[in-house]
């Protein structure tokens, strides 16, 4: 065990945890916006998958990672339009339609990958973008300031979304329609438009999360996300619908996963113990959700409730 508690191992494990957390964070931030407006989207994983495929295919064709990220964003936006129509215009049950979005993304990404690419060809992966001076700080430099641009973007997004939700007019409208859409409507807030904007931004971020994942890995494969989108939905609850809370949850999940991996690589845990430790991130999520259940009062009161204006 002593070999784990060395400076170099702790630093690299922390850095790995930050890196691992990013796809979860991006997807969970998007879902946070949607849920704060009262809309639950269980299809985040599907949006990530189809965003990941289009990002992968774009990078494969153009050799441009930026184009891949943009492609992921645009595909996420398109999926957001679809989801907004289904939930806000047609008032479909959000749970079912979310699962429909997930299955659509899963199947369509597999089909397109099979038809357009066929085999997991490599693409240029994300590279580190060390922040000058800060990355030279012993320990901290590696842990926090030697990551890819998408990691930094995720952190900036946390700050931006916190300001957006708590300090902007749109954020006020967002919280209002998520808590009491009838009252918001009576005060002149367009519930449908506010929710639609939240869904579009949320799904765009899910598409970017998928793009980040595939470009980080430098490849694509069927069901690449392996359930990251569903964990992201759970992280929204973990974070009490606050961006900084979601950041904390994502980091915790990533750090636990990185720690378990490092313990296995160092052979500190092996055999049956190693199998048990693999469940740690999921167990932690469940425990955290159980704790959060006590704080269910912070859940948006109108979450999953369609808005219908009545005379």
């Amino acid at each position: 065990m002593a070999e784990f508690f060395t400076a170099s191992v702790l630093v690299t494990t922390f850095a790995a945890g930050v890196r691992l957390s990013m796809p979860f964070l991006l997807a969970a931030l998007g879902e946070t916006l949607g849920q704060r407006s009262g809309v639950l989207n269980l299809g985040v994983d599907g949006v990530m998958l189809i965003g990941a495929f289009f990002a992968y295919w774009t990078v494969l064709e153009t050799d441009s990672r930026l184009s891949g990220v943009v492609a992921g964003l645009l595909v996420g936006l398109a999926m957001g339009v679809l989801y907004a129509v289904v939930t806000l215009v047609f008032h479909a049950e959000q749970g079912i339609s979310g699962i429909g979005i997930f299955l659509f993304g899963l199947g369509m990404s597999e089909l397109l990958f099979q038809e357009l690419v066929g085999t997991p060809l490599p693409i240029p992966a994300l590279t580190e973008a060390p922040i000058p001076l800060l990355s030279d700080i012993p320990g901290l430099g590696t842990m926090l300031f030697s990551h890819s641009l998408l990691v930094y973007a995720g952190v900036v997004l946390v700050v931006l979304l916190t300001w957006l939700i708590n300090r902007s007019t749109f954020g006020l409208d967002l919280r209002a329609v998520g808590e009491n859409p009838e009252a918001a409507d009576s005060l002149g807030v367009s519930v449908i438009r506010t929710r639609a904007i939240a869904i579009l931004i949320g799904n765009s971020l899910a598409g970017v999360a998928g793009a980040a994942l595939t470009i980080e890995l430098g490849t694509f494969q069927n069901n690449l996300t392996n359930g990251i989108g569903f964990i992201a939905v759970a992280l929204v609850y973990f974070g009490a619908w606050r961006p900084f809370g979601v950041l904390a949850g994502s980091l915790l999940y990533g750090l636990v996963t990185a720690t378990v991996t490092q313990l296995k690589v160092l052979d500190i845990v092996s055999g049956a113990a190693a199998s048990l430790t693999t469940t740690a991130p999921a167990v932690l999520t469940v425990l955290a959700l159980a704790v959060i259940a006590r704080r269910s009062a912070s859940q948006p009161a109108a979450l999953t409730v369609p808005f219908e204006r009545r005379h």
């Binding site: 890995l217 069927n222 296995k264």
Partner: protein, 355 residues
């Protein structure tokens, strides 16, 4: 003021714009959601009952030859487990039709597909997944005239219509391990779950590498499909000094990506993983040539038998081959491979770890 008539049988909601959203909009929305679900399911599942289930690039339908179906846990193009069986079946003669249902990692889904193929009159149903044994045993009893093949496994349940096939992947693993030891000092192995041919390969590779002086670290990620976790495990190996990597199962593309990004060498198994990396990364692959034993199985079924045999591919019968990737093969490399192969075939070395 005259009241607008309100039909009593339809609940009307009036939005801010005055447009009416009657109940049938909700039905349409629900239908749309259901259609998305069906469209997604139809994209990968070819085993609909009563439908023609042909999907692979293969033989035209004709009255001659067997109708063969494959049920497998991952994608046809996974560069690993499923791709190996698809390529093997595609190489067979005496087959008139091949149908594939990939991506059925969930055992219940696979059981449905297996039963559907048997119902649909396929002559041979290949259940390509160790986890399918339980339902396969039940289904085989229901369809005594259908031949079933289960792999990788060595148990036919004592049923006359069930064959089993397995791969001595520990043998090829040992050879690759010996080759790796001639080129690397510390090797990281990214394993999925310690079962079946995955464990055999990892054990064989470990022994081959250690017998020839290399240091080996093994981590099982406990998943066949978590590509991100495989990537992270490979990264951790690199940070701990590994200069070569190997692994098995479909999630290894994540680890191959790390090998390419970090300038390490990769040793592959099950299928040719060379396309997954740029030049100079993939040294060699152990290729499963399933057709070596499947052809025997097809010939036996064509001759009237429905099963009961256990088949195995190994280095000796040519069912396992070592093929070089996109790293130039030097004389030292080929010598190492030849020497290790000879030792394995002769039984001079141990290639499996007990327990």
């Amino acid at each position: 003021m005259a009241q607008k008539e309100t039909p009593s049988h339809v609940e009307l909601d009036v939005s801010r714009t005055g447009k009416v959203s009657p109940l049938w909009w909700r039905a349409l929305a629900t239908t749309l959601a259901a259609m998305m679900v069906l469209a997604a399911c139809g994209g990968s599942d070819d085993a609909d009952s009563g439908d023609d289930a042909s999907d692979s690039a293969d033989s035209e339908e004709s009255s001659d030859g067997l109708r063969v179906a494959i049920v497998a846990p991952s994608a046809e193009n996974d560069l690993a487990f499923t791709q190996s069986i698809v390529e093997g079946v595609d190489a067979l003669s005496g087959v008139s039709e091949v149908a594939i249902t990939p991506g059925t990692f969930v055992v219940e889904d696979a059981a449905t597909a297996i039963r559907d193929y048997a119902n649909d009159g396929f002559d041979l149903v290949v259940a390509h997944g160790s986890q399918y044994g339980g339902p396969l045993e039940e289904i085989a009893k229901e369809f005594p005239d259908t031949a079933f093949a289960w792999g990788t496994a060595a148990d036919t349940f004592g049923l006359e219509n069930v064959s089993a096939y397995t791969a001595a992947s520990d043998q090829g693993g040992y050879v690759l391990g010996a080759l790796a030891a001639s080129m690397c000092s510390k090797i990281g192995i990214v394993g999925p779950i310690a079962v079946g041919d995955a464990k055999l390969y990892v054990d064989g590779f470990t022994l081959g590498a250690e017998d020839n002086g290399a240091e080996v670290d093994v981590v099982y990620t406990e998943s066949f499909s978590d590509t991100q976790l495989a990537s992270e495990t490979a990264t951790a190996f690199v940070e701990n000094g590994a200069d070569c990597l190997t692994g098995t199962a479909q999630m290894t593309v994540g680890a191959i990506g790390v090998a390419e990004q970090e300038g390490l060498l990769w040793f592959g198994t099950q299928s040719d993983q060379t396309p997954a990396a740029a030049d100079g990364v993939v040294v060699a692959n152990q290729i499963y040539q399933w057709e070596v034993v499947l052809q025997d199985l097809v010939d036996d079924v064509t001759g009237g038998a429905t099963g009961g045999e256990v088949y195995a591919i190994d280095l000796d019968n040519g069912g396992l081959t070592i093929e070089y990737g996109n790293v130039d093969a030097t004389d030292d490399m080929t010598s190492a491979v030849d020497a290790a192969s000879s030792s394995v075939v002769a039984g001079d070395v141990e290639t499996m770890i007990e327990g």
